[in-house]
Symmetry: C2
Subunit: 288 residues, 2 copies
């Protein structure tokens, strides 16, 4: 493995920071630089030692072998575009830019005809916490999780191999699919559960206005179900916007299930409620 | 503390079993007996050493100082009634019967005019896991959780004190409220999150019929949100039935929040989605 590399992280938050921590500790690269348009994040990332040096974006592109774009999905396509423009203008043919975004189709669309498209590898490591910012960076965040590489045929095979190597160092299981398929899957197993957690939090917070002590009774089960409601708007608003069509379909499918429960409970239909719960219990065999 | 007691557990599942484990380890009583109408559970509880002896219900009432009723809520009122009848018929004035049920109003209603009502203490320790049966019993399950004592004025003060002592040994924080208030609170912080988890599981399981690998991508966030969907129907069907009216109101409040999200996403209303998420984030200050 080539280890005499420089990694440039654009966006020094939870994901960018955690990538840097493990890639450094595991010897994937020798030098880490980074940039963040929020000066507070940039300074914190430097002080926390996530990167060796905080630099402007141009310098980050210039000096890095691999540029990792880990910013909210609304900003990602523009930055990747800028990076690819620089590759073109300066004649860089060996550098790679990769993103870690939670939506893929809109970004793919935007970059489709860029003459340097092949130097971009679209990825999504399926890991995270409900916290954000450089201070939320964690060692081991990616271990044993799935990582999607999207539209791999659109990228240079050598660039894909380098990125696969990077994710193998992070102990990730790589899954290949198209951007469109990615966005359908994540609507189901990630975006929907954020909407349901936010809504659950809002429902109980509303009730708290009259019943000050309602949360005194919250047990571990409630905390677990509502955990994702701590996730931040800067990250999630653009994800919901970019994956709007899939997400609306999935929300509708979910509301139908809620409605099935509502009706069965309303009609004291014990058999129906039991059948719904028994079916839901199949999740036991799938999620440990 | 009087420790030369016999505790009788009616219903040797997760809650009854876990109570026995900690009460024994912490010296609250010297002898534990129990009964379960399911012979498999009864035998397992004996083999696991949760109780010293498995006995018929009559003997359990006869020999115990405190009878703990830890059966599904649909069966609880009938058993407590039988226990109180025995107290009356045999002239027992010192024995106590307590339940640990997740719903309280219907049970309270049923027992209201029993001549031995004062020897019954209505409680609900707010702890559990998504697993069930005697093999799911855990030490430390109740530590640092809340326990509700409902309608305490309906019980003998001395009986309430004995039960308070029991829950203090389990390191529980005791909260007092009426049965009706209990059922409203738990609809919000417990029953609703079970319905949302079941529905989330059903939605993704449906999709799995076409997309075999959808769960390959499930991250820790999804697992956390869907965890309660592993909970079993024997316990939850009767809870939903007994708390129907409160639960329907809470489901409706929740569906309105889901609808707010749906509309804001549908209309690409970023400001509205942001406002909803920011408001939901208040949960951070409440749930660690």
């Amino acid at each position: 493995m080539e280890t005499n590399r420089t990694i440039g992280i654009v966006g020094l938050g939870l994901i960018g920071g955690s990538l840097a921590v493990d890639l450094r500790a595991r010897g994937y690269a020798s030098r880490f630089i980074g940039t963040d348009k929020n000066p507070l994040n940039a300074e914190a990332a430097g002080r926390l030692g996530l990167v060796d040096r905080v630099v402007p974006l141009e310098e980050c592109i210039e000096e890095s072998d691999i540029i990792v774009v880990s910013v909210p999905v609304s900003a990602a396509a523009g930055i990747i575009h800028t990076v690819l423009d620089t590759f073109k203008d300066k004649g860089y043919t060996d550098k790679i830019v990769m993103d870690v975004c939670s939506t893929k189709s809109q970004i793919a669309e935007r970059l489709k005809y860029h003459p340097c498209r092949k130097r971009y590898v679209a990825t999504h490591p399926m890991a995270g916490t409900e916290h954000s910012g450089p201070w939320a960076a964690l060692p081991g965040l990616f271990d044993a999780r799935a990582c999607i590489i999207a539209d791999q045929d659109e990228s240079d095979p050598a660039a894909v191999r380098t990125v696969e190597e990077l994710y193998k160092v992070l102990n990730m299981r790589i899954v290949y699919m198209t951007s469109d398929s990615h966005d359908v899957h994540t609507a189901f197993v990630s975006h929907l559960s954020h909407v349901t957690s936010f809504s659950l939090a809002l429902t109980v917070l509303d009730k708290e206005r009259d019943e000050k002590h309602i949360f005194d009774l919250a047990s571990g089960g409630f905390s677990s179900t509502v955990r994702l409601a701590k996730s931040n708007a800067d990250m999630w608003v653009p994800i919901f916007m970019q994956n709007r069509d899939n997400l609306l379909r999935v929300i509708d499918a979910y509301m139908e299930k809620m409605q099935d429960f509502r009706e069965a409970i309303d009609q004291y239909d014990e058999d129906k409620v039991r059948a719904l719960i028994d079916e839901a219990n199949r999740i036991k065999k799938i999620i440990r």
